[in-house]
Symmetry: D2
Subunit: 338 residues, 4 copies
């Protein structure tokens, strides 16, 4: 049983069906009837006008978002363990043409307003120093923690005060919202977020995330993003297969139901791993203390997962799980703990 | 009946089936068992060691290929009507970090060794001028003409003489090979081509082309390309769905059969449009003289296609066509001609 | 006697003296008292508010100007023989992060409104094609011709109509103005020019051109340019030595007097070369028909210059010349012609 | 009396004289007789074959050096307070097309082999993470400390082990060598340094540093650097004025004598500021504890300098100083201390 990552799971059947339903001729690129519905569907979901583009990958979505917020000579405040810093081979530097990632510390891979503000105050307003132009946070964080609406809003206030764009990497946005039980608008545009990478692939999609723009500048920024999408080789001629995935996710709230299933599985594992948790389990990731011997024991029982440095491991649940299906691992963890 | 473009057709059923067969968990990115087979399958097809990467789009494949052949301060010799010049919103300039496209004339959108050599001789070997570093040609050309093995080899000889990389944009490579009746190696590596964008999407795929590297430097260049793929946001976590498409295309020669069907349909139309052809029909595109009135008449009968400037039109056939299925349009064209 | 290029002459004594006068401690970068006077001095000269930055080279000035006018995915309409196309090793592509130079033909290296408009009309307004965002012309042109105020204004009108920025490469701006006898504002901001690379080095300076911004967006663009200047490594810590050169050029109209001397020398040569001229002589460059034998004869008499392809040569006069000092060459040319 | 920075001082008279001596016509760019001598003069100085290019500024020299060592998807290990990180507005990201600066801690702004190695070991060798490709250190460091030959060699050994290029920002290289009393080769190529930004401007030059390449790959890298220099707008047409400055610096060991004078002045101040020093004084910079009241007292006596955060100040001596000339400040500091 695999707990490597939610990014390697099969595609959710409803998404697969939606792709099959889109398997007929239409206009190329984003001229098709599926793509045409994205703005409306996401505007309804978020209860505000949204400009929505399909983008193939989270790395591309994040990088294009940042290219819309930050000039080449600017900087993006982010957590030092953020995916954009650690796992994208410099893609944000590519799309922004060399902007700087200003990596900051913070417990649980969360940015705090205090640390952000302290960094901002240290920047001299001359041409020698890179000016900050954007903040980027990950929801849920790299350690599976969800920013509450208040936490996001506090960072949004800093962004507004300093004239910064505000980006949210929502690779696991659904899991965060499912945990928080809030409206998706509460942790995004109502809290000052300008651009959201709305993740689908980890949540049951095949290829395709949504890049969502909120607010007064949404249209201008989305027009820029459409240029970067083309220029990055991401304007696929059969884009309808991506649009269809996103529609399937949003319509009927599949995105939330899938996330709830993954989260429930994670809670079941958390119960089994009580006493081992390195972070509270709020989304679909567990980081647990685990000796090499214990890890070997679990693997011998058929459970696969990544080590997380020495003496620790990461377990990721996904849309195809639920509390029942992960019971074997929960039990195995509980036995270890004994 | 649509003759807009082969890039907007449905996905070929065998490809769709292959994607469904890949719908199970495996390692992410290109760590899966489908991706692992690409080098072997393409090496068999081309009868030489090939390094093969899946890339989502032709624009990305072309741009990444050029980034592997040309430094930022270099230039790429290409036809002034090439897709990389006209239809990619500067994507090659993005991936190469500013390399120059050196656009050259040539009948039927074909580059000739004479024109290429004349341009090369005009470049001063000082640091003030952009040095040519690569040649890029399109097979079949933007006007549906196929370079013969000898024609490619003549350009390959120029590339070798001047120390240039040699790229082929094969968005319709299959159609060209089907027309030529040659081995695919004869118009690529045996003729000096270093990198081939092996098109699948126009030929029945959904999302995904193959980027193929030949020759001594294949491994080093493919390793570079893998970096650009990641950095461009093109290393999808569920890459197996792309790899599966490519395997389906190559195994069992689906790529050739699909192209043969499209080409046969084009020949049927060409017979109907005798006397109107602006270029010989060698692949799956027809460029025909057509008055606005004639165009309207055809559209009234349910045939859709793009105008090609004043008094002309472009008709594109695809894998789902054959001579029989396009007979209605062939007949309609013949009637017009009468 | 050298007629290779005006870019290799000694520094004009008044400029040298100004540098010596600036040889005392002051604040670094552009915080000194000389740099602080640039805006005022150029505003006076042009009779309009000007934002002025010193930039070390024409290549950097042109490239930074274009980076302020054109996004990475945009294009710059320019002549196919423009310096930015032919002689800057892709520097504009570097500073603009990959913008396209849209090279156009035109007699005497002049752009015409018709050719520019025709090109603009051919661009589809979709994301696949590079949108034009700027026009760049060279005053005087690469063949030593001066655009009249009306000619510039006609291009300025096109720029305004299509929402394009308008840049003038004025490497030999002084020579053009000296020839035209007009106010410098008449061929720049009054004719719609947004940014001028005001050349000094060819006109007697050592290192340093002025980059001048006109109009409503001057301040915002100059602020951007200041970032590119720093980021390009062009914000020298002892910038006062550049500012002092520019001030010496403008104050007391040295820039015009130097250009008048060079132009007068060119006219004297033109008289001697009557019948050989390939272009009217309007600035300080002559392009003449000259056989290899004739060229050898002149060189044997001690005159140095560049061949300009077969059967032609280029002669460039400079600030240190005048009609009298170039009489030996004028006479020698006249004798050849006989 | 100014102690703001050595980068704002007048030009040393010998350098000024050399520029005046170069004030005659010659071939443009680097085709002149002064530029032609650079390789030889620096090879003699360093006792090894050196490829030497003049570059206008330290920012440009550093950035071009890094562009020769690190691909766009690579990273440069450097100190978190290095000039390239803090004070160049992202210029290295511009010239490298987006490479990452991997900022590391270290006392006195020095990198240690341990910290570098620890960071290197943490990088996964997959395409998701930015691979380190170069190390860059500053000699003397941003806090005025000199790396000893052994310290440089230890980092050079790490660079060799991991296949990294090794760059030294030598904005105050002369001061470091003057302090160390070693041969300049001992802290550069003999210790594994591949590229050195050999600073002149802070040491009495006007505009112009030397970019020096050592070792087997020197020629290839210098050829690349020549392209970046042109492309960055740094190949000035009257380059001889830069070459002449560098020659004046090196010939007759002016570079060392100037640095010795500045260092001696710094030692004199250090004696006066005993008990206040935050770092040992090894070059020409002092970082001292100083209350706001004390700073005001010094300024009231005519001494100018920068605050260095709260309760601290930076004093920089320069080539025009010596122990005697800075005695007034040394005394004033001593009095404060009392």
């Amino acid at each position: 049983m695999h707990f490597f990552s939610d990014n390697a799971t099969p595609v959710c059947p409803d998404v697969m069906a939606a792709m099959a339903a889109a398997d007929r001729a239409d206009h190329g690129y984003d001229g098709d009837i599926w793509s045409a519905r994205l703005n409306g569907v996401f505007s309804d979901l978020f209860e505000t006008p949204v400009e929505a583009l399909w983008i193939a990958s989270g790395t591309a979505a994040n990088s294009i978002a940042l290219a819309c917020l930050c000039p080449p000579y600017g900087g993006v405040l982010c957590h030092e363990e953020a995916h954009i810093v650690v796992d994208e081979c410099g893609a944000p530097g590519f799309y922004t043409h060399g902007a700087s990632l200003m990596a900051l510390p913070g417990a649980g891979a969360k940015l705090s307003p205090d640390i952000v503000t302290e960094r901002l105050k240290a920047i001299r307003p001359d041409v020698h120093q890179v000016p900050a132009r954007a903040i980027s946070i990950t929801q849920a964080t790299e350690y599976g923690l969800a920013y509450t609406p208040d936490e996001v809003a506090a960072l949004g206030a800093v962004a507004r005060e300093y004239g910064l764009g505000f980006h949210m990497d929502g690779a696991r946005f659904a899991n965060a919202v499912a945990h928080l039980g809030c409206h998706p608008g509460d942790v995004t545009w109502r809290a000052g977020v300008d651009v959201l990478s709305f993740g689908c692939v980890k949540n049951g999609g095949m290829i395709g995330e949504a890049l969502l723009f909120f607010g007064d500048r949404a249209q201008a920024r989305a027009a820029e993003a459409a240029r970067w999408r083309k220029r990055g080789g991401h304007l696929f001629s059969k884009g309808r297969y991506l649009a269809a995935q996103l529609l399937a996710m949003v319509e009927g709230d599949l995105w939330l139901r899938n996330a709830e299933a993954a989260n429930a599985a994670a809670q079941a594992l958390a119960a089994g791993a009580a006493g081992r948790l390195m972070y509270p389990v709020e989304a679909n990731e567990l980081f647990i203390r685990l000796t090499a011997q214990e890890a070997a024991a679990l693997r011998a029982q058929g459970f696969d997962f990544y080590d997380w440095g020495e003496g620790a491991a990461r377990l990721v649940t996904n849309w195809s799980h639920d509390a029942a299906s992960v019971k074997p691992l929960a039990d195995a963890l509980g036995t270890l703990s004994a």
